[in-house]
Assembly symmetry: C2
Homo-oligomer: 455 residues x 2
């Protein structure tokens, strides 16, 4: 895009056209960008400009945009539209995307929208929204093909040919076979339909008693299912074994990706939901502060250990230099062990009961690394003040605290998980509070004992 | 599994049977467990027991196991087997899994194995192993279907029926159409083959000029491709546009997952490759130490600021309590901003040139959170010693350093990425070194100025 011979950033371009109110040109530019680039550009516009752009686009194009952005952003954007237009966008969305967005609204808002939507789309969304988002019923799509047991292969192929356009949005690698009461009785892979010669009852070529998951199956179970089976999707049945949807591998992977990302953000102190810089500054501040204010309390607690040793510190002021080093290094060593445990928990290589195994493995690393780091820091201390006892105090404290930190770091995620808390969230701050307190205690109490040699 | 009425952990069970040398029973138990559980159990056995179990299983079963464990583990395990048996396992693996494992070996080892493998499997592996692992050529599978342009739909269906067993391991949702010189000219979706009535040349129903990626396309390009197109796979062509393989969506997602995981481990200080507790203790120590020894250097550097203010510290020993608090809190605030930037970079919401935008967004949060945390810590300091000036020094230093930390934290990943380093690896330690130095400087220099009021 060139204007006056210079490149213009997409969001600036959209912003300028929005100001002119030129809807035809907005639609044209948005199409040229593609939905991903367009989503990125829109996130940089102000509320007024965003409404302009969204109203210029077709409901289908807005629905495509919604797939590209985070749920919170999508929800904020779509409700800038008049309710009737928003309902058309929901009609055009895949059933599980629509349900995800509806899930964040209150009852009256949901009903208001569903009442305006096309009957079939509304009925589908109504079913999905009745489930939690992280179970099969909430992750499934309602767009699937099912044929009665009485059909023949030719009847299926005829129906597919007749409805080719409608089905083009479906994933028809499998179609399903159901009893009159809706019970799932078979699966008909597309390839078997193709490879079967002649016209015959589908019951002859279908796979009987197909694998399925219950609508209440949690994400972990679906993850395991797709790890064990190389399928693109799995049928979802209700308690009465009636087929109600299909969970696709891609939706499970997306949900797992979201969760992993939430875990990463949490481990770095972004708690209570995803943060994007397009959110209001007070929301962002408040979310970060909720975490920081807990942390500052823990920090004051840990540092209070230092207050008990003011006399020792006053005599050997050089110790003040080593306190932050020991605190930070033990935190690092401990966090390495936390990361390995989180990883091994995720891979299923350790279970929350494997305390002894993890403790033994970490203690061996802790002894080696503690000695190495202790000797390093001890030498620095000795050389700096020319006092070998200062080296012994600083190095010894670091060595001991490193051993402690890796053992606690390795075991904490197991313990936190066993107590049903979130290890990504809680492991870090608990770890550093304990290692800070112990580290300060070691260095200052060793110094108190060796006070005569240090001054 | 019950023995004497009590549950036995799978690895203990395998270990006991391995000791008896009962291969038939090992095979039976391994099959009962399924490859995932079995992989987990094997990782807990010693080298001798592992060889026993692997030799008891069929090559196909070992190949399935290799899909369940990390590459390093797989490589270590498979070379416990006699070379001839290892070659049979490689024959049974999917071509890209085989190539991944071969990739970690030296030239002589690779050739030794390839020479023993079945000719077709060896030829496939040889092609894949010539590419880097994170480009299309290294990620693709060689198992795909291609038909000459001269074929008719019936000829294709006949071939599929004839070779149904062989192709059952292929992903045949698409087959490809090639010119006599191997150039890719069309794609034949399975559904179109099914829906097309009668026998006709495949050129009539194929999709012409299909999308494809070059063999040297990096992972980022493949990620973008699958985000923009809802395909299960994309054909890979070489510089002469000859079809050489197919990259499947699942392989790209797996590679992205591996990278995200590597990023997480790196951000926590596990550098130079994945760590599993089944690795030798010295390897694990050395990997963790390589990171810690850089970090201790940075820590000593940061703490050296304190050494310059020993006189001030000696006069107001209470300051020593606040140094670790300010260091840790600024690190936390900064890491929150790092996490948000890493996330926005990954989503493509910011680019490495968006400095001003990020700086402005972070500064607003930094002012609010800096004030909030500063007032909090200042009040604690005031109440503790009953000296409002101590509160001003500690609170003011934390407020200012929080603002600095979130700005640096937000910008660092952009800068590091622009300089072509790995932001997951470098952002954390650079951030904390700077914020430690500045934090120590603020609190101690403020105290030096206000020294008369503090003592």
């Amino acid at each position: 895009m060139e204007t006056n011979g210079e490149f213009k950033e997409p969001w600036k371009l959209l912003s300028e056209i929005a100001e002119l109110g030129d809807h035809a040109r907005l639609r044209e530019e948005a199409e040229r960008m593609g939905s991903r680039e367009c989503a990125r550009a829109i996130s940089r516009l102000n509320a007024e400009e965003q409404s302009q752009v969204l109203q210029a686009l077709t409901p289908e194009a807005v629905a495509d945009l919604m797939e590209e952005i985070s749920e919170e952003q999508a929800r904020a954007l779509i409700f800038r539209l008049p309710p009737g237009v928003a309902a058309r966008v929901f009609d055009a969305m895949r059933s599980n995307t629509a349900a995800d967005l509806l899930g964040g609204l209150d009852f009256a808002e949901i009903e208001g929208l569903l009442g305006r939507m096309a009957p079939e789309a509304a009925a589908n969304a109504r079913i999905l929204v009745s489930y939690k988002t992280d179970v099969a019923g909430g992750l499934m799509v309602r767009e699937f093909l099912a044929y009665p047991v009485t059909f023949t292969t030719q009847q299926v192929i005829d129906d597919m040919r007749l409805n080719a356009r409608k089905y083009s949005e479906y994933s028809i690698q499998y179609s399903f076979v159901t009893q009159p009461d809706g019970t799932l009785t078979g699966v008909l892979p597309l390839r078997d339909l193709l490879l079967a010669p002649g016209d015959k009852p589908i019951t002859e070529i279908m796979i009987q008693r197909p694998l399925s998951v219950l609508d209440e199956a949690p994400l972990e179970e679906l993850e395991k299912f797709f790890e064990e089976h190389a399928y693109l999707g799995v049928p979802v049945v209700d308690a009465k074994e009636r087929l109600i949807g299909v969970v696709r591998r891609t939706d499970v992977q997306e949900a797992l990706g979201k969760r992993a990302n939430r875990d990463y953000l949490r481990s770095q102190g972004i708690v209570g939901g995803e943060e994007l810089r397009s959110m209001p500054v007070l929301t962002r501040s408040a979310r970060r502060l909720s975490w920081l204010s807990v942390n500052i309390g823990l920090n004051v607690l840990a540092a209070s250990v230092i207050a008990f040793y003011q006399d020792t510190l006053e005599s050997v002021i050089a110790l003040a230099v080593f306190l932050p080093i020991i605190s930070d290094m033990s935190g690092c060593s401990g966090n390495q062990a936390v990361a390995v445990s989180m990883r091994e928990l995720a891979l299923g290589l350790v279970k929350p009961i494997d305390f002894l195994h993890v403790w033994f493995k970490e203690a061996s690393v802790g002894i080696i690394n503690g000695l190495a780091l202790g000797v390093l820091l001890g030498s620095v201390a000795w050389l700096w003040k020319g006092n070998p006892y200062l080296g012994l105090v600083a190095g010894g404290a670091l060595a001991l605290n490193t051993l402690l930190a890796v053992c606690i770091g390795g075991l904490l995620p197991l313990l936190v998980k066993r107590l049903k808390f979130d290890p990504a969230l809680a492991s870090g701050p608990i770890l550093t509070t304990i290692t800070d307190m112990c580290g300060f205690f070691f260095v200052l109490s060793f110094a108190t004992v060796a006070l005569g040699r240090l001054t």
